[in-house]
């Protein structure tokens, strides 16, 4: 029954797009209403609650000293995890992360890591012995589409407002986490040959696949991920990248900069 409804809705969505419209009245390249609140969890060293339309994601950052990786003895460590908690969607099951949870965590991680947003050299306490381990935990609270962008935004907003708990471990005064860039993730789907940014749940299920592009302040791209069982033409792919970089700039300048006080120099 739901499959039949899906097909009817898909038809409806495609027809709307052909007439230049979206199901919730947005423009093709518009995000839904976006709110970010930081420092919402006092036990965490940094946190951000992101509302993207009806999608809600809470990201918490915890830090603790630990051993570095042998090949990077002078660098801090980032560990990202995502939980698709069952209350967020009837599609989510309790238990260890499935491939969707793993993918979400790894894409969020890649955006932060590859952009160089976190200055990992500054997270070294004692070379080869002790470095700060940064745990980024994504908690999905409501799934109404586009979890990747909401989670990635939450991660960078939380990191940029995180304090390193030096005092707790007898390592001097607490410091600001050295964040020097604001990578922004923008995901799009291709419906009827149009690039639709920030797909909601209906658009996500009607489209055969999505493309995520994470870009930085200087306009460079630091991570991409195609997901879903369909394909994209090279033209749509290139167009998506251009639109995504533009949208990222808009979000960075109009929303993230209001949340994040100041950045370290790169």
């Amino acid at each position: 029954m739901s499959e039949v409804l899906d097909e009817i809705r898909k038809d409806y969505l495609f027809n709307l797009v052909r007439r230049g419209k979206r199901i919730d009245g947005r423009g093709f390249h518009d995000f839904r209403e976006l709110h970010i609140r930081t420092n919402v969890i006092s036990k965490a060293e940094g946190s951000a609650w992101v509302e993207l339309g009806l999608t809600e994601v809470l990201v918490g950052v915890k830090l603790q000293p630990g051993e570095p990786f042998p090949d990077t003895p002078d660098k801090g460590v980032i560990i990202t995890n995502a939980e698709l908690v069952p209350l967020a969607s009837p599609m989510f099951e309790p238990g260890p992360p499935d491939e969707n949870g793993v993918e979400l965590a790894r894409v969020v991680d890649r955006g932060i890591r590859e952009s160089g947003a976190l200055n990992l050299e500054k997270l070294c306490i004692e070379e080869g012995e002790k470095v700060w381990i940064v745990f980024i935990d994504v908690h999905v609270l409501n799934h109404e589409g586009n979890l990747i962008d909401a989670s990635a935004l939450g991660a960078i907003a939380a990191l940029a407002t995180t304090r390193i708990p030096c005092e707790r471990y007898g390592l001097g005064n607490d410091e600001k986490l050295p964040v020097r860039d604001l990578p922004v993730s923008v995901t799009a789907v291709d419906i009827a040959g149009e690039v639709l940014i920030d797909p909601n749940l209906y658009e996500e299920s009607a489209a055969s696949c999505r493309l995520t592009v994470i870009s930085n302040t200087d306009g460079t791209i630091s991570a991409m991920q195609k997901g879903g069982t369909g394909g994209l033409s090279p033209e749509i792919t290139k167009k998506t990248v251009k639109v995504a970089v533009e949208c990222a700039k808009d979000i960075r300048e109009n929303i993230l900069s209001g949340v994040v006080a100041s950045l370290e120099p790169y």
Binding site: R106, E114, I221, G230, G231, L232, S233, V241, V245
Partner: protein, 174 residues
């Protein structure tokens, strides 16, 4: 359709703990999604197609090699397909956009971008990227990857044609 990408513990410099880790879970997912668009699954209701990719020795590009092999193996198994999927990675090493990274290039390079496509329909079915590149470099890298996929496609096609001309000859055919 199910896809399992698995690395042998001895396939890399530092021994890998056997069993699935988060990296192989993600690779299995995106590889399955790279092949699913070409499979005509309507012919197989209530059936599963299992694909197992075992990486025995790794010098980067294992997910693309796995997809190339799986695509040929599916055709060899007689599964009806809309086209072959061909895959290759592009990267940026020392400021240059290059095709098909090796291990060292992957480790010290500035970007790695695996791409899979159905050459017949010019559809990209796998695209991942990590590193740091400008939009112009991305455009060039994608074009290079597409050209690379076309070359892989010719090799896949040749492998299939060779196999079936051999078996016909054995049966005393033409």
């Amino acid at each position: 359709m199910r896809f399992r990408y698995n690395m042998a513990p001895f396939s890399v410099e530092e021994r890998r703990r056997p069993g699935p880790d988060r990296r192989s879970v993600e690779i299995s997912k995106v590889s399955r999604e790279a092949l699913e668009p070409v499979i005509i699954a309507e012919y197989y209701p209530r059936a599963a197609i299992d694909i197992f990719v075992e990486i025995l020795e790794s010098d980067a590009g294992t997910r693309t090699a796995g997809i190339n092999a799986a695509s040929v193996a599916l055709a060899d198994a007689g599964i009806p397909m809309k086209g072959l999927v061909s895959a290759v990675a592009v990267g940026k090493v020392d400021g240059q956009i290059v095709l098909d990274l090796m291990s060292e290039e992957d480790q010290y390079g500035e970007m790695d971008m695996p791409v899979a496509m159905v050459t017949r329909t010019n559809t990209i079915t796998l695209l991942q990227m990590d590193g740091r590149v400008t939009m112009e470099e991305f455009d060039r890298a994608l074009d290079l990857a597409i050209a690379g996929c076309r070359r892989i496609y010719e090799l896949q096609r040749k492998a299939l044609i060779e196999k079936y001309s051999e078996s016909r000859a054995e049966e005393g055919g033409v």
